[in-house]
């Protein structure tokens, strides 16, 4: 019998070396993208055209300047404030746009939609422009809601400074009612939402806080103002919940209801996630895990883990949408990724609260990494019946040849006591930090995943995107995209969708519920399509979408059924509504 001879050691090592070096080559190849993955979708079914100039929108955001004692980190601290919110403040049926500015003396803008594809800035005459003043603070965003149910959309502006509540008097002018409302509070806030947590028909207000509220960024008494951890910081400002008690007054019920998180909350969103009839709260926290507060019959909020605490990241925004037409509202939370340094990855959390009391993160591939991602929104841009995702990106675009990431890496892993002090941070100078990043537009291919089609559809800007809002600006049955960019001009992308696809829209008017119908959830059923949307009281990052709900139907030529869950708790069912039009639905009164 012949025993096969083992090859010599040299030969054996040479044989091992082949797959060894092949593995290095494979890693190099995979660095440029997955092998065999679709590079792009051949026909996304829509095109985005930059129509900012044509629309007459000339707004340019200006960032603030702060106390020279924190000048070394000012580009970082002053990197927020560009926001966009959609409303129809003059009730003419055309959605208008509100943009905030963040430098003393620089005006906010209220662009009235003239209905012909163009806008005019009426902020000054309306009295909502001059909100960036020494001693009062600078605007970080605005959110619209009819808090007094008079049929006019009112405006809450949150600032690094005092809150400002502006009552819509007659659809043309606004009156500052902050003091009378009991909302004259200094909050270093980057977000606020309207919602009716106790279902009394009056919109309540949740305000998120970023820096502690005892900090005046123009007159700091200490440089220990930064977060105490990059992953589990809990030394941010305290979020506030204001209960609308009627008569134009609010009371602080934060502690009573148990929602005073001191994490560095950048965004909040509300929906009835567990389908018990009461609106819950979802928070995206910078330097920390997301938080979910379940509403216990309007009496208190109960913090639950729901699978959110296992991945602590840097939550920048939270957008709600039905990712895979399951009839549930899922959450997309953006995070930070930078090649070689950090992959926090975005979270696409499927809502399985009803089934398993948790959210399940299914983000992978392109949708998991959008760079330093900020605002995002779900919207059916091609009207095919599936939600796309638009994500704004980029943090600080300055010197293209200097990156702060290396400097950041010196302190990012260090002990929290060190970088809690702003004085410890290396000076920013004119460095960029994840600057010049492009927006992402993720085409929803269902089980096949999400494909970034931004370049193909025409979303090519590399501004420092912050807030994203979606609205059918032309009442054309198509969702347009508005992006507020930090220290840069606004971008308005007008959408051209596949004309073969159908759609239906709903303009809800509350009666027993708040008149804005904020928090109403609508489920459209059409054949195999079942999709849920919510009337937006603020979501994403520093943004608010068109309150009218838009559903793409694809080739489906009818809708079987529409179920409306009003914030009051009542349910309304519509059978076979007309399609390819906006339907105004008024809640049945008592």
């Amino acid at each position: 019998m012949v025993v096969p001879r083992r090859p010599s050691q040299t030969v054996r090592r040479a044989i091992i070396a082949v797959p060894f070096f092949a593995a290095i080559a494979l890693a190099f190849r995979l660095n440029s993208g997955p092998i065999g993955a679709p590079a792009d979708a051949a026909n996304p079914g829509f095109v985005l055209t930059d129509a900012t100039k044509a629309a007459g929108i000339t707004f340019v955001h200006k960032r603030p300047s702060f106390d020279p004692k924190i000048a070394n980190v000012e580009p970082h601290v002053a990197a927020l404030g560009a926001s966009v919110s959609v409303t129809d403040f003059d009730s003419d049926g055309w959605p208008d746009l509100y943009f905030t500015n963040s430098r003393f003396g620089e005006p906010n803008a209220l662009y009235r939609n003239k209905g012909d594809g163009t806008f005019e800035d009426v902020a000054a005459t309306a009295g909502v422009a001059d909100l960036n003043r020494p001693g009062e603070g600078v605007s970080m965003g605005g959110v619209w809601g009819d808090f007094d149910n008079d049929g006019r959309e009112d405006l809450l502006v949150y600032r690094y400074g005092y809150l400002a509540l502006l009552k819509n008097v007659d659809g043309k002018r606004f009156e500052d009612v902050t003091q009378a409302a009991g909302l004259h509070r200094w909050v270093n806030s980057n977000g606020a939402i309207w919602f009716d947590y106790d279902r009394d028909g009056l919109l309540d207000l949740y305000v998120t806080a970023y820096f502690r509220s005892d900090i005046d960024l123009w007159h700091v008494t200490t440089t220990r103002i930064m977060h105490n951890s990059f992953e589990y910081a809990d030394n941010g400002g305290k979020n506030l919940l204001f209960h609308n008690v009627g008569g134009g007054r609010f009371e602080d019920v934060t502690d009573k209801l148990g929602v005073g998180s001191t994490r560095w909350t950048l965004a909040a969103a509300s929906a009835d996630f567990d389908e018990d009839g009461w609106p819950d709260l979802y928070l995206a926290n910078d330097y920390g895990p997301e938080e979910l507060f379940l509403n216990d019959h309007g009496q208190r909020f109960v913090p639950v883990k729901a699978g959110l605490s296992s991945e602590s990241k840097s939550g920048m925004s939270v957008a709600l949408g039905d990712a895979f037409n399951r009839g549930r509202l899922d959450a997309f939370v953006t995070n930070i990724s930078e090649r070689g340094y950090l992959f926090q990855n975005n979270n696409l959390r499927l809502n399985r609260l009803v089934d398993s009391k948790r959210f399940v993160n299914v983000a992978e591939g392109a949708v998991a990494d959008a760079g330093w991602a900020w605002g995002a929104q779900f919207g059916d841009l091609n009207n095919d019946g599936m939600n796309e995702l638009f994500v704004a990106n980029g943090f600080i675009s300055a010197d293209r040849n200097t990156s702060y990431w290396y400097a950041m890496s010196k302190i990012a892993g260090a002990n929290g006591r060190l970088f809690e002090d702003a004085a410890t941070w290396p000076a920013f100078g004119n460095a960029s930090l994840s600057g010049y990043e492009r927006s992402r537009v993720y085409l929803n291919r269902g089980a096949a995943g999400w494909t970034d089609v931004a370049a193909r559809v025409g979303a090519t800007d590399t501004y420092d995107g912050r807030a994203v809002a979606l609205a059918d600006l032309g009442n054309r049955g198509v969702i347009d995209v508005i992006v507020a960019n930090q220290n840069q001009p606004v971008t308005l992308y007008r959408t051209t969708a596949d004309s073969a696809n159908h759609w239906v829209g709903f303009h809800l008017v509350g009666t027993r519920s708040n008149r804005s119908a904020i928090g109403a959830e609508v489920i459209v059923e059409s054949g195999d399509l079942k999709q849920r949307r919510i009337v937006d009281g603020g979501m994403g990052f520093a943004s608010q979408n068109d309150r009218r709900l838009h559903f793409g139907l694809g080739q489906r030529e009818w809708v079987d059924r529409v179920v409306i869950h009003w914030p009051s708790g009542t349910e309304q069912v519509l059978q076979h509504p007309l399609i390819d039009r906006m339907l105004t639905i008024t809640e049945a009164s008592r």
Partner: protein
Amino acid sequence: MTELAAAASTPLSWKDRARRIDPRYLIAFLITLVLVLAQLRYHIVGGYERLAVALLACTATEALLSWFDRGKVVNLQSAYISGISLTLLEKPQGAALWPIALGGWLAISSKYVLRYRENHLWNPTNFAIVTLLLVAPERISVLSHQWGNDLATNLVIWTFGLVIASRVRVLHITLTYVASFFALNTLRSLILGQPILPEIAPITGPMYQLFVFFMITDPRTVVRGRRPQMIVAVIIALVEAMIRFASDQGWPLPTAFNAAPALVALWLVGPVAKWIDLRRAGPRKLAPVPSPEAQVAPPVSARESSPAVSAVR
């Protein structure tokens, strides 16, 4: 009764028993403990599938290659430690698992391919992570702030690290590197006119502490002799300081250099030092190293000049 027989019949004290425990078991236990605590407190693993893939890739590679190269499957503890180390230190993009799998393969196979006089030259985990950072920076990052920036975490690693470093007699390497880091980076900040605190801040982070306790002290890839070991530690710190200086100046370096200067410095200096050491020793002076299994745990008598085990392998 001979002295040997008498010694054999005398009950061992607990200290003696502890000393006789194979250091590999101690290291495997402690690094597992670090991982478990970090996962419980900070969810550091980022998905248990990563841990499973890392352990599977490392142990399967070790088993396969040792069988192919030596004709038998060696003890897999070293591969297990490499798998844990990769899980702790390598942070891939998204839900991708291929960087973990390839990292495991590269770590272990480097021990069989990149050899000189029957010794491997690179710390396996260091080789895998830096190589991946160099060739696939779009998909890989290293441990940064995922450990919560908490003093308690530092204390845990220091405690475990001191136990291991003392047990395998490599504490002088750790301390030399730490002292050099402070001195050189203070000097660098003075030269550049930058505040000192940000420059010495990195060493307070867990990644650095894993590096100084468990990677730079890898006995199989350090040079022989206490003094040369300390000199190499200084050189590694020096090269790292030079990389940082270049980064401060904005020189166009590969991302790996900016993102993980300490790991790159070890990747550059370690094998060169080891190669010189082996070359100077000459083939006849080298103790026979017949198999990777034996490489993991040389005889106790050899530990004075070549400590027994690798922590982060």
